[in-house]
């Protein structure tokens, strides 16, 4: 299955080109220009990785990150930042973001972080599945009560 990515950034030209480049690499890409729009999309759709700009009008990166983690705790978030906002990105990692990247970044750094973040989410989901199976095997009645 393709890795589902949501790009959230208020710079339309950046979003457009990054989206095309990720599409060429066979990622399934959706874009969003604000934190508010991103959370609305997350309510309806599932994503493996969110690439999130730290500095945006309307809803800033940290607020958006909290909403994302509240809605979809397993979705991994990579924060994009300029120099001035590295501290915010670090704060984001404390709040559960997978990692951050400073603009402009090296291509390999971005693609590698996306793949690692997606793999981490996959492993986490697998562990949850295994735990559920164990629970069912050890106590089949729990299926009826859940």
């Amino acid at each position: 299955m393709k890795t589902r990515i949501l790009i959230v950034d208020d710079e339309p030209e950046f979003v457009e080109v990054l989206s095309e480049r990720l599409g060429l690499r066979d990622y399934d890409v959706t874009t969003s220009s604000s934190g508010k729009d991103a959370t609305e999309k997350l309510e309806k759709l599932n994503f493996d990785v969110v690439i999130l700009d730290v500095l945006m009008p309307d809803m800033d990166g940290i607020e958006t990150l909290k909403k994302i983690k509240g809605l979809k705790p397993l979705t991994e978030v990579i924060m994009l930042t300029g120099h001035a906002t590295v501290e915010t990105a670090i704060e984001g990692m404390k709040l559960g973001a997978y990692d951050y990247l400073m603009k402009p970044y090296k291509d390999d750094d971005l693609f590698s972080k996306i793949d690692k973040a997606s793999a981490k989410k996959g492993e986490h989901e697998e562990r949850i599945r295994e735990a559920k199976v164990k629970e069912i095997v050890s106590s089949p009645r729990s299926v009826l009560s859940s």
Binding site: D10, E11, E13, F14, V17, L18, E20, R21, L24, L55, M56, P57, D58, D60, G82, H83, A84, T85, M102, K103, P104, Y105, D107
Partner: protein
């Protein structure tokens, strides 16, 4: 006096730092777009090698986008250069229209992040005053910062030079919605008070509390 110097320096350095951080952030954004466009060009060429060719029109369009971003970066750097040169002389002849345009350009990104748009209206002819350029910019930034916080529902601030023919010149920042208690107690920016005194400026709010009015002497008194 010593305390005045300290608050003035603190406010001035914070202003310069804030503007520099915002400008460099903007430049990094432009570089990121250039980087992505160049990367897409590489991707398309690499794919074209496998598929037997790449559409020249697509490459040309990406090259044009890179050129446009380079021009955008040039505009940002020019503003930064003008800002840096406003510190050349402690007292100088200043065209208020140009100063307002520069300040609006420098603050553009900060305003956008705060959901506010800035619109300047300046006379066609230059409005010259002799003043302390960097202190004037610091004071105006203090007022603009206040105005962004108190912007009315439309979230659009109009900044203009008014009464250019009078004894003093006036700068007005419109589009704010000031709480009644601020209107009643009179408008002042404590952090800019020392700068205001050195510039010989008078500041206040209109009775409706929707505009900040700053009166500046045409020639600052040298102490």
């Amino acid at each position: 006096m010593r305390e005045d110097m300290m608050t003035m320096s603190e406010e001035g350095f914070q202003f310069i730092g804030k503007m520099t951080a915002s400008i460099t952030h903007e430049i990094k954004n432009v570089l990121a777009v250039i980087r992505e466009n160049a990367g897409l060009m590489e991707d398309l060429i690499a794919m074209g090698e496998k598929k037997g060719g790449v559409d020249p029109a697509r490459i040309q369009s990406l090259a044009e986008k890179i050129g446009q971003q380079a021009m955008k970066a040039d505009g940002i750097v020019q503003n930064m250069n003008h800002f840096a040169h406003s510190m050349d002389d402690f007292i100088a002849d200043v065209d208020l229209g140009k100063t307002l345009d520069l300040l609006a350009a420098l603050s553009g990104r900060i305003a956008t992040v705060r959901g506010v748009t800035l619109k300047t209206r300046v006379p066609d002819a230059p409005v010259w005053i002799k003043t302390h350029p960097i202190l004037l910019e610091t004071l105006l930034w203090g007022c603009l910062d206040f105005a962004m916080d108190k912007a009315s529902e439309e979230k659009q601030l109009g900044i203009e030079v008014a009464q250019p023919e009078g004894e003093s010149v006036q700068i007005r920042i419109a589009g704010i919605d000031t709480p009644e208690d601020v209107c009643a107690s009179g408008f002042s920016l404590e952090r800019c008070e020392a700068i205001r005194r050195i510039l010989g400026a008078e500041m206040g709010l209109t009775t409706e509390g929707d505009e900040i009015v700053i009166d500046l002497p045409r020639q600052v008194q040298v102490r």
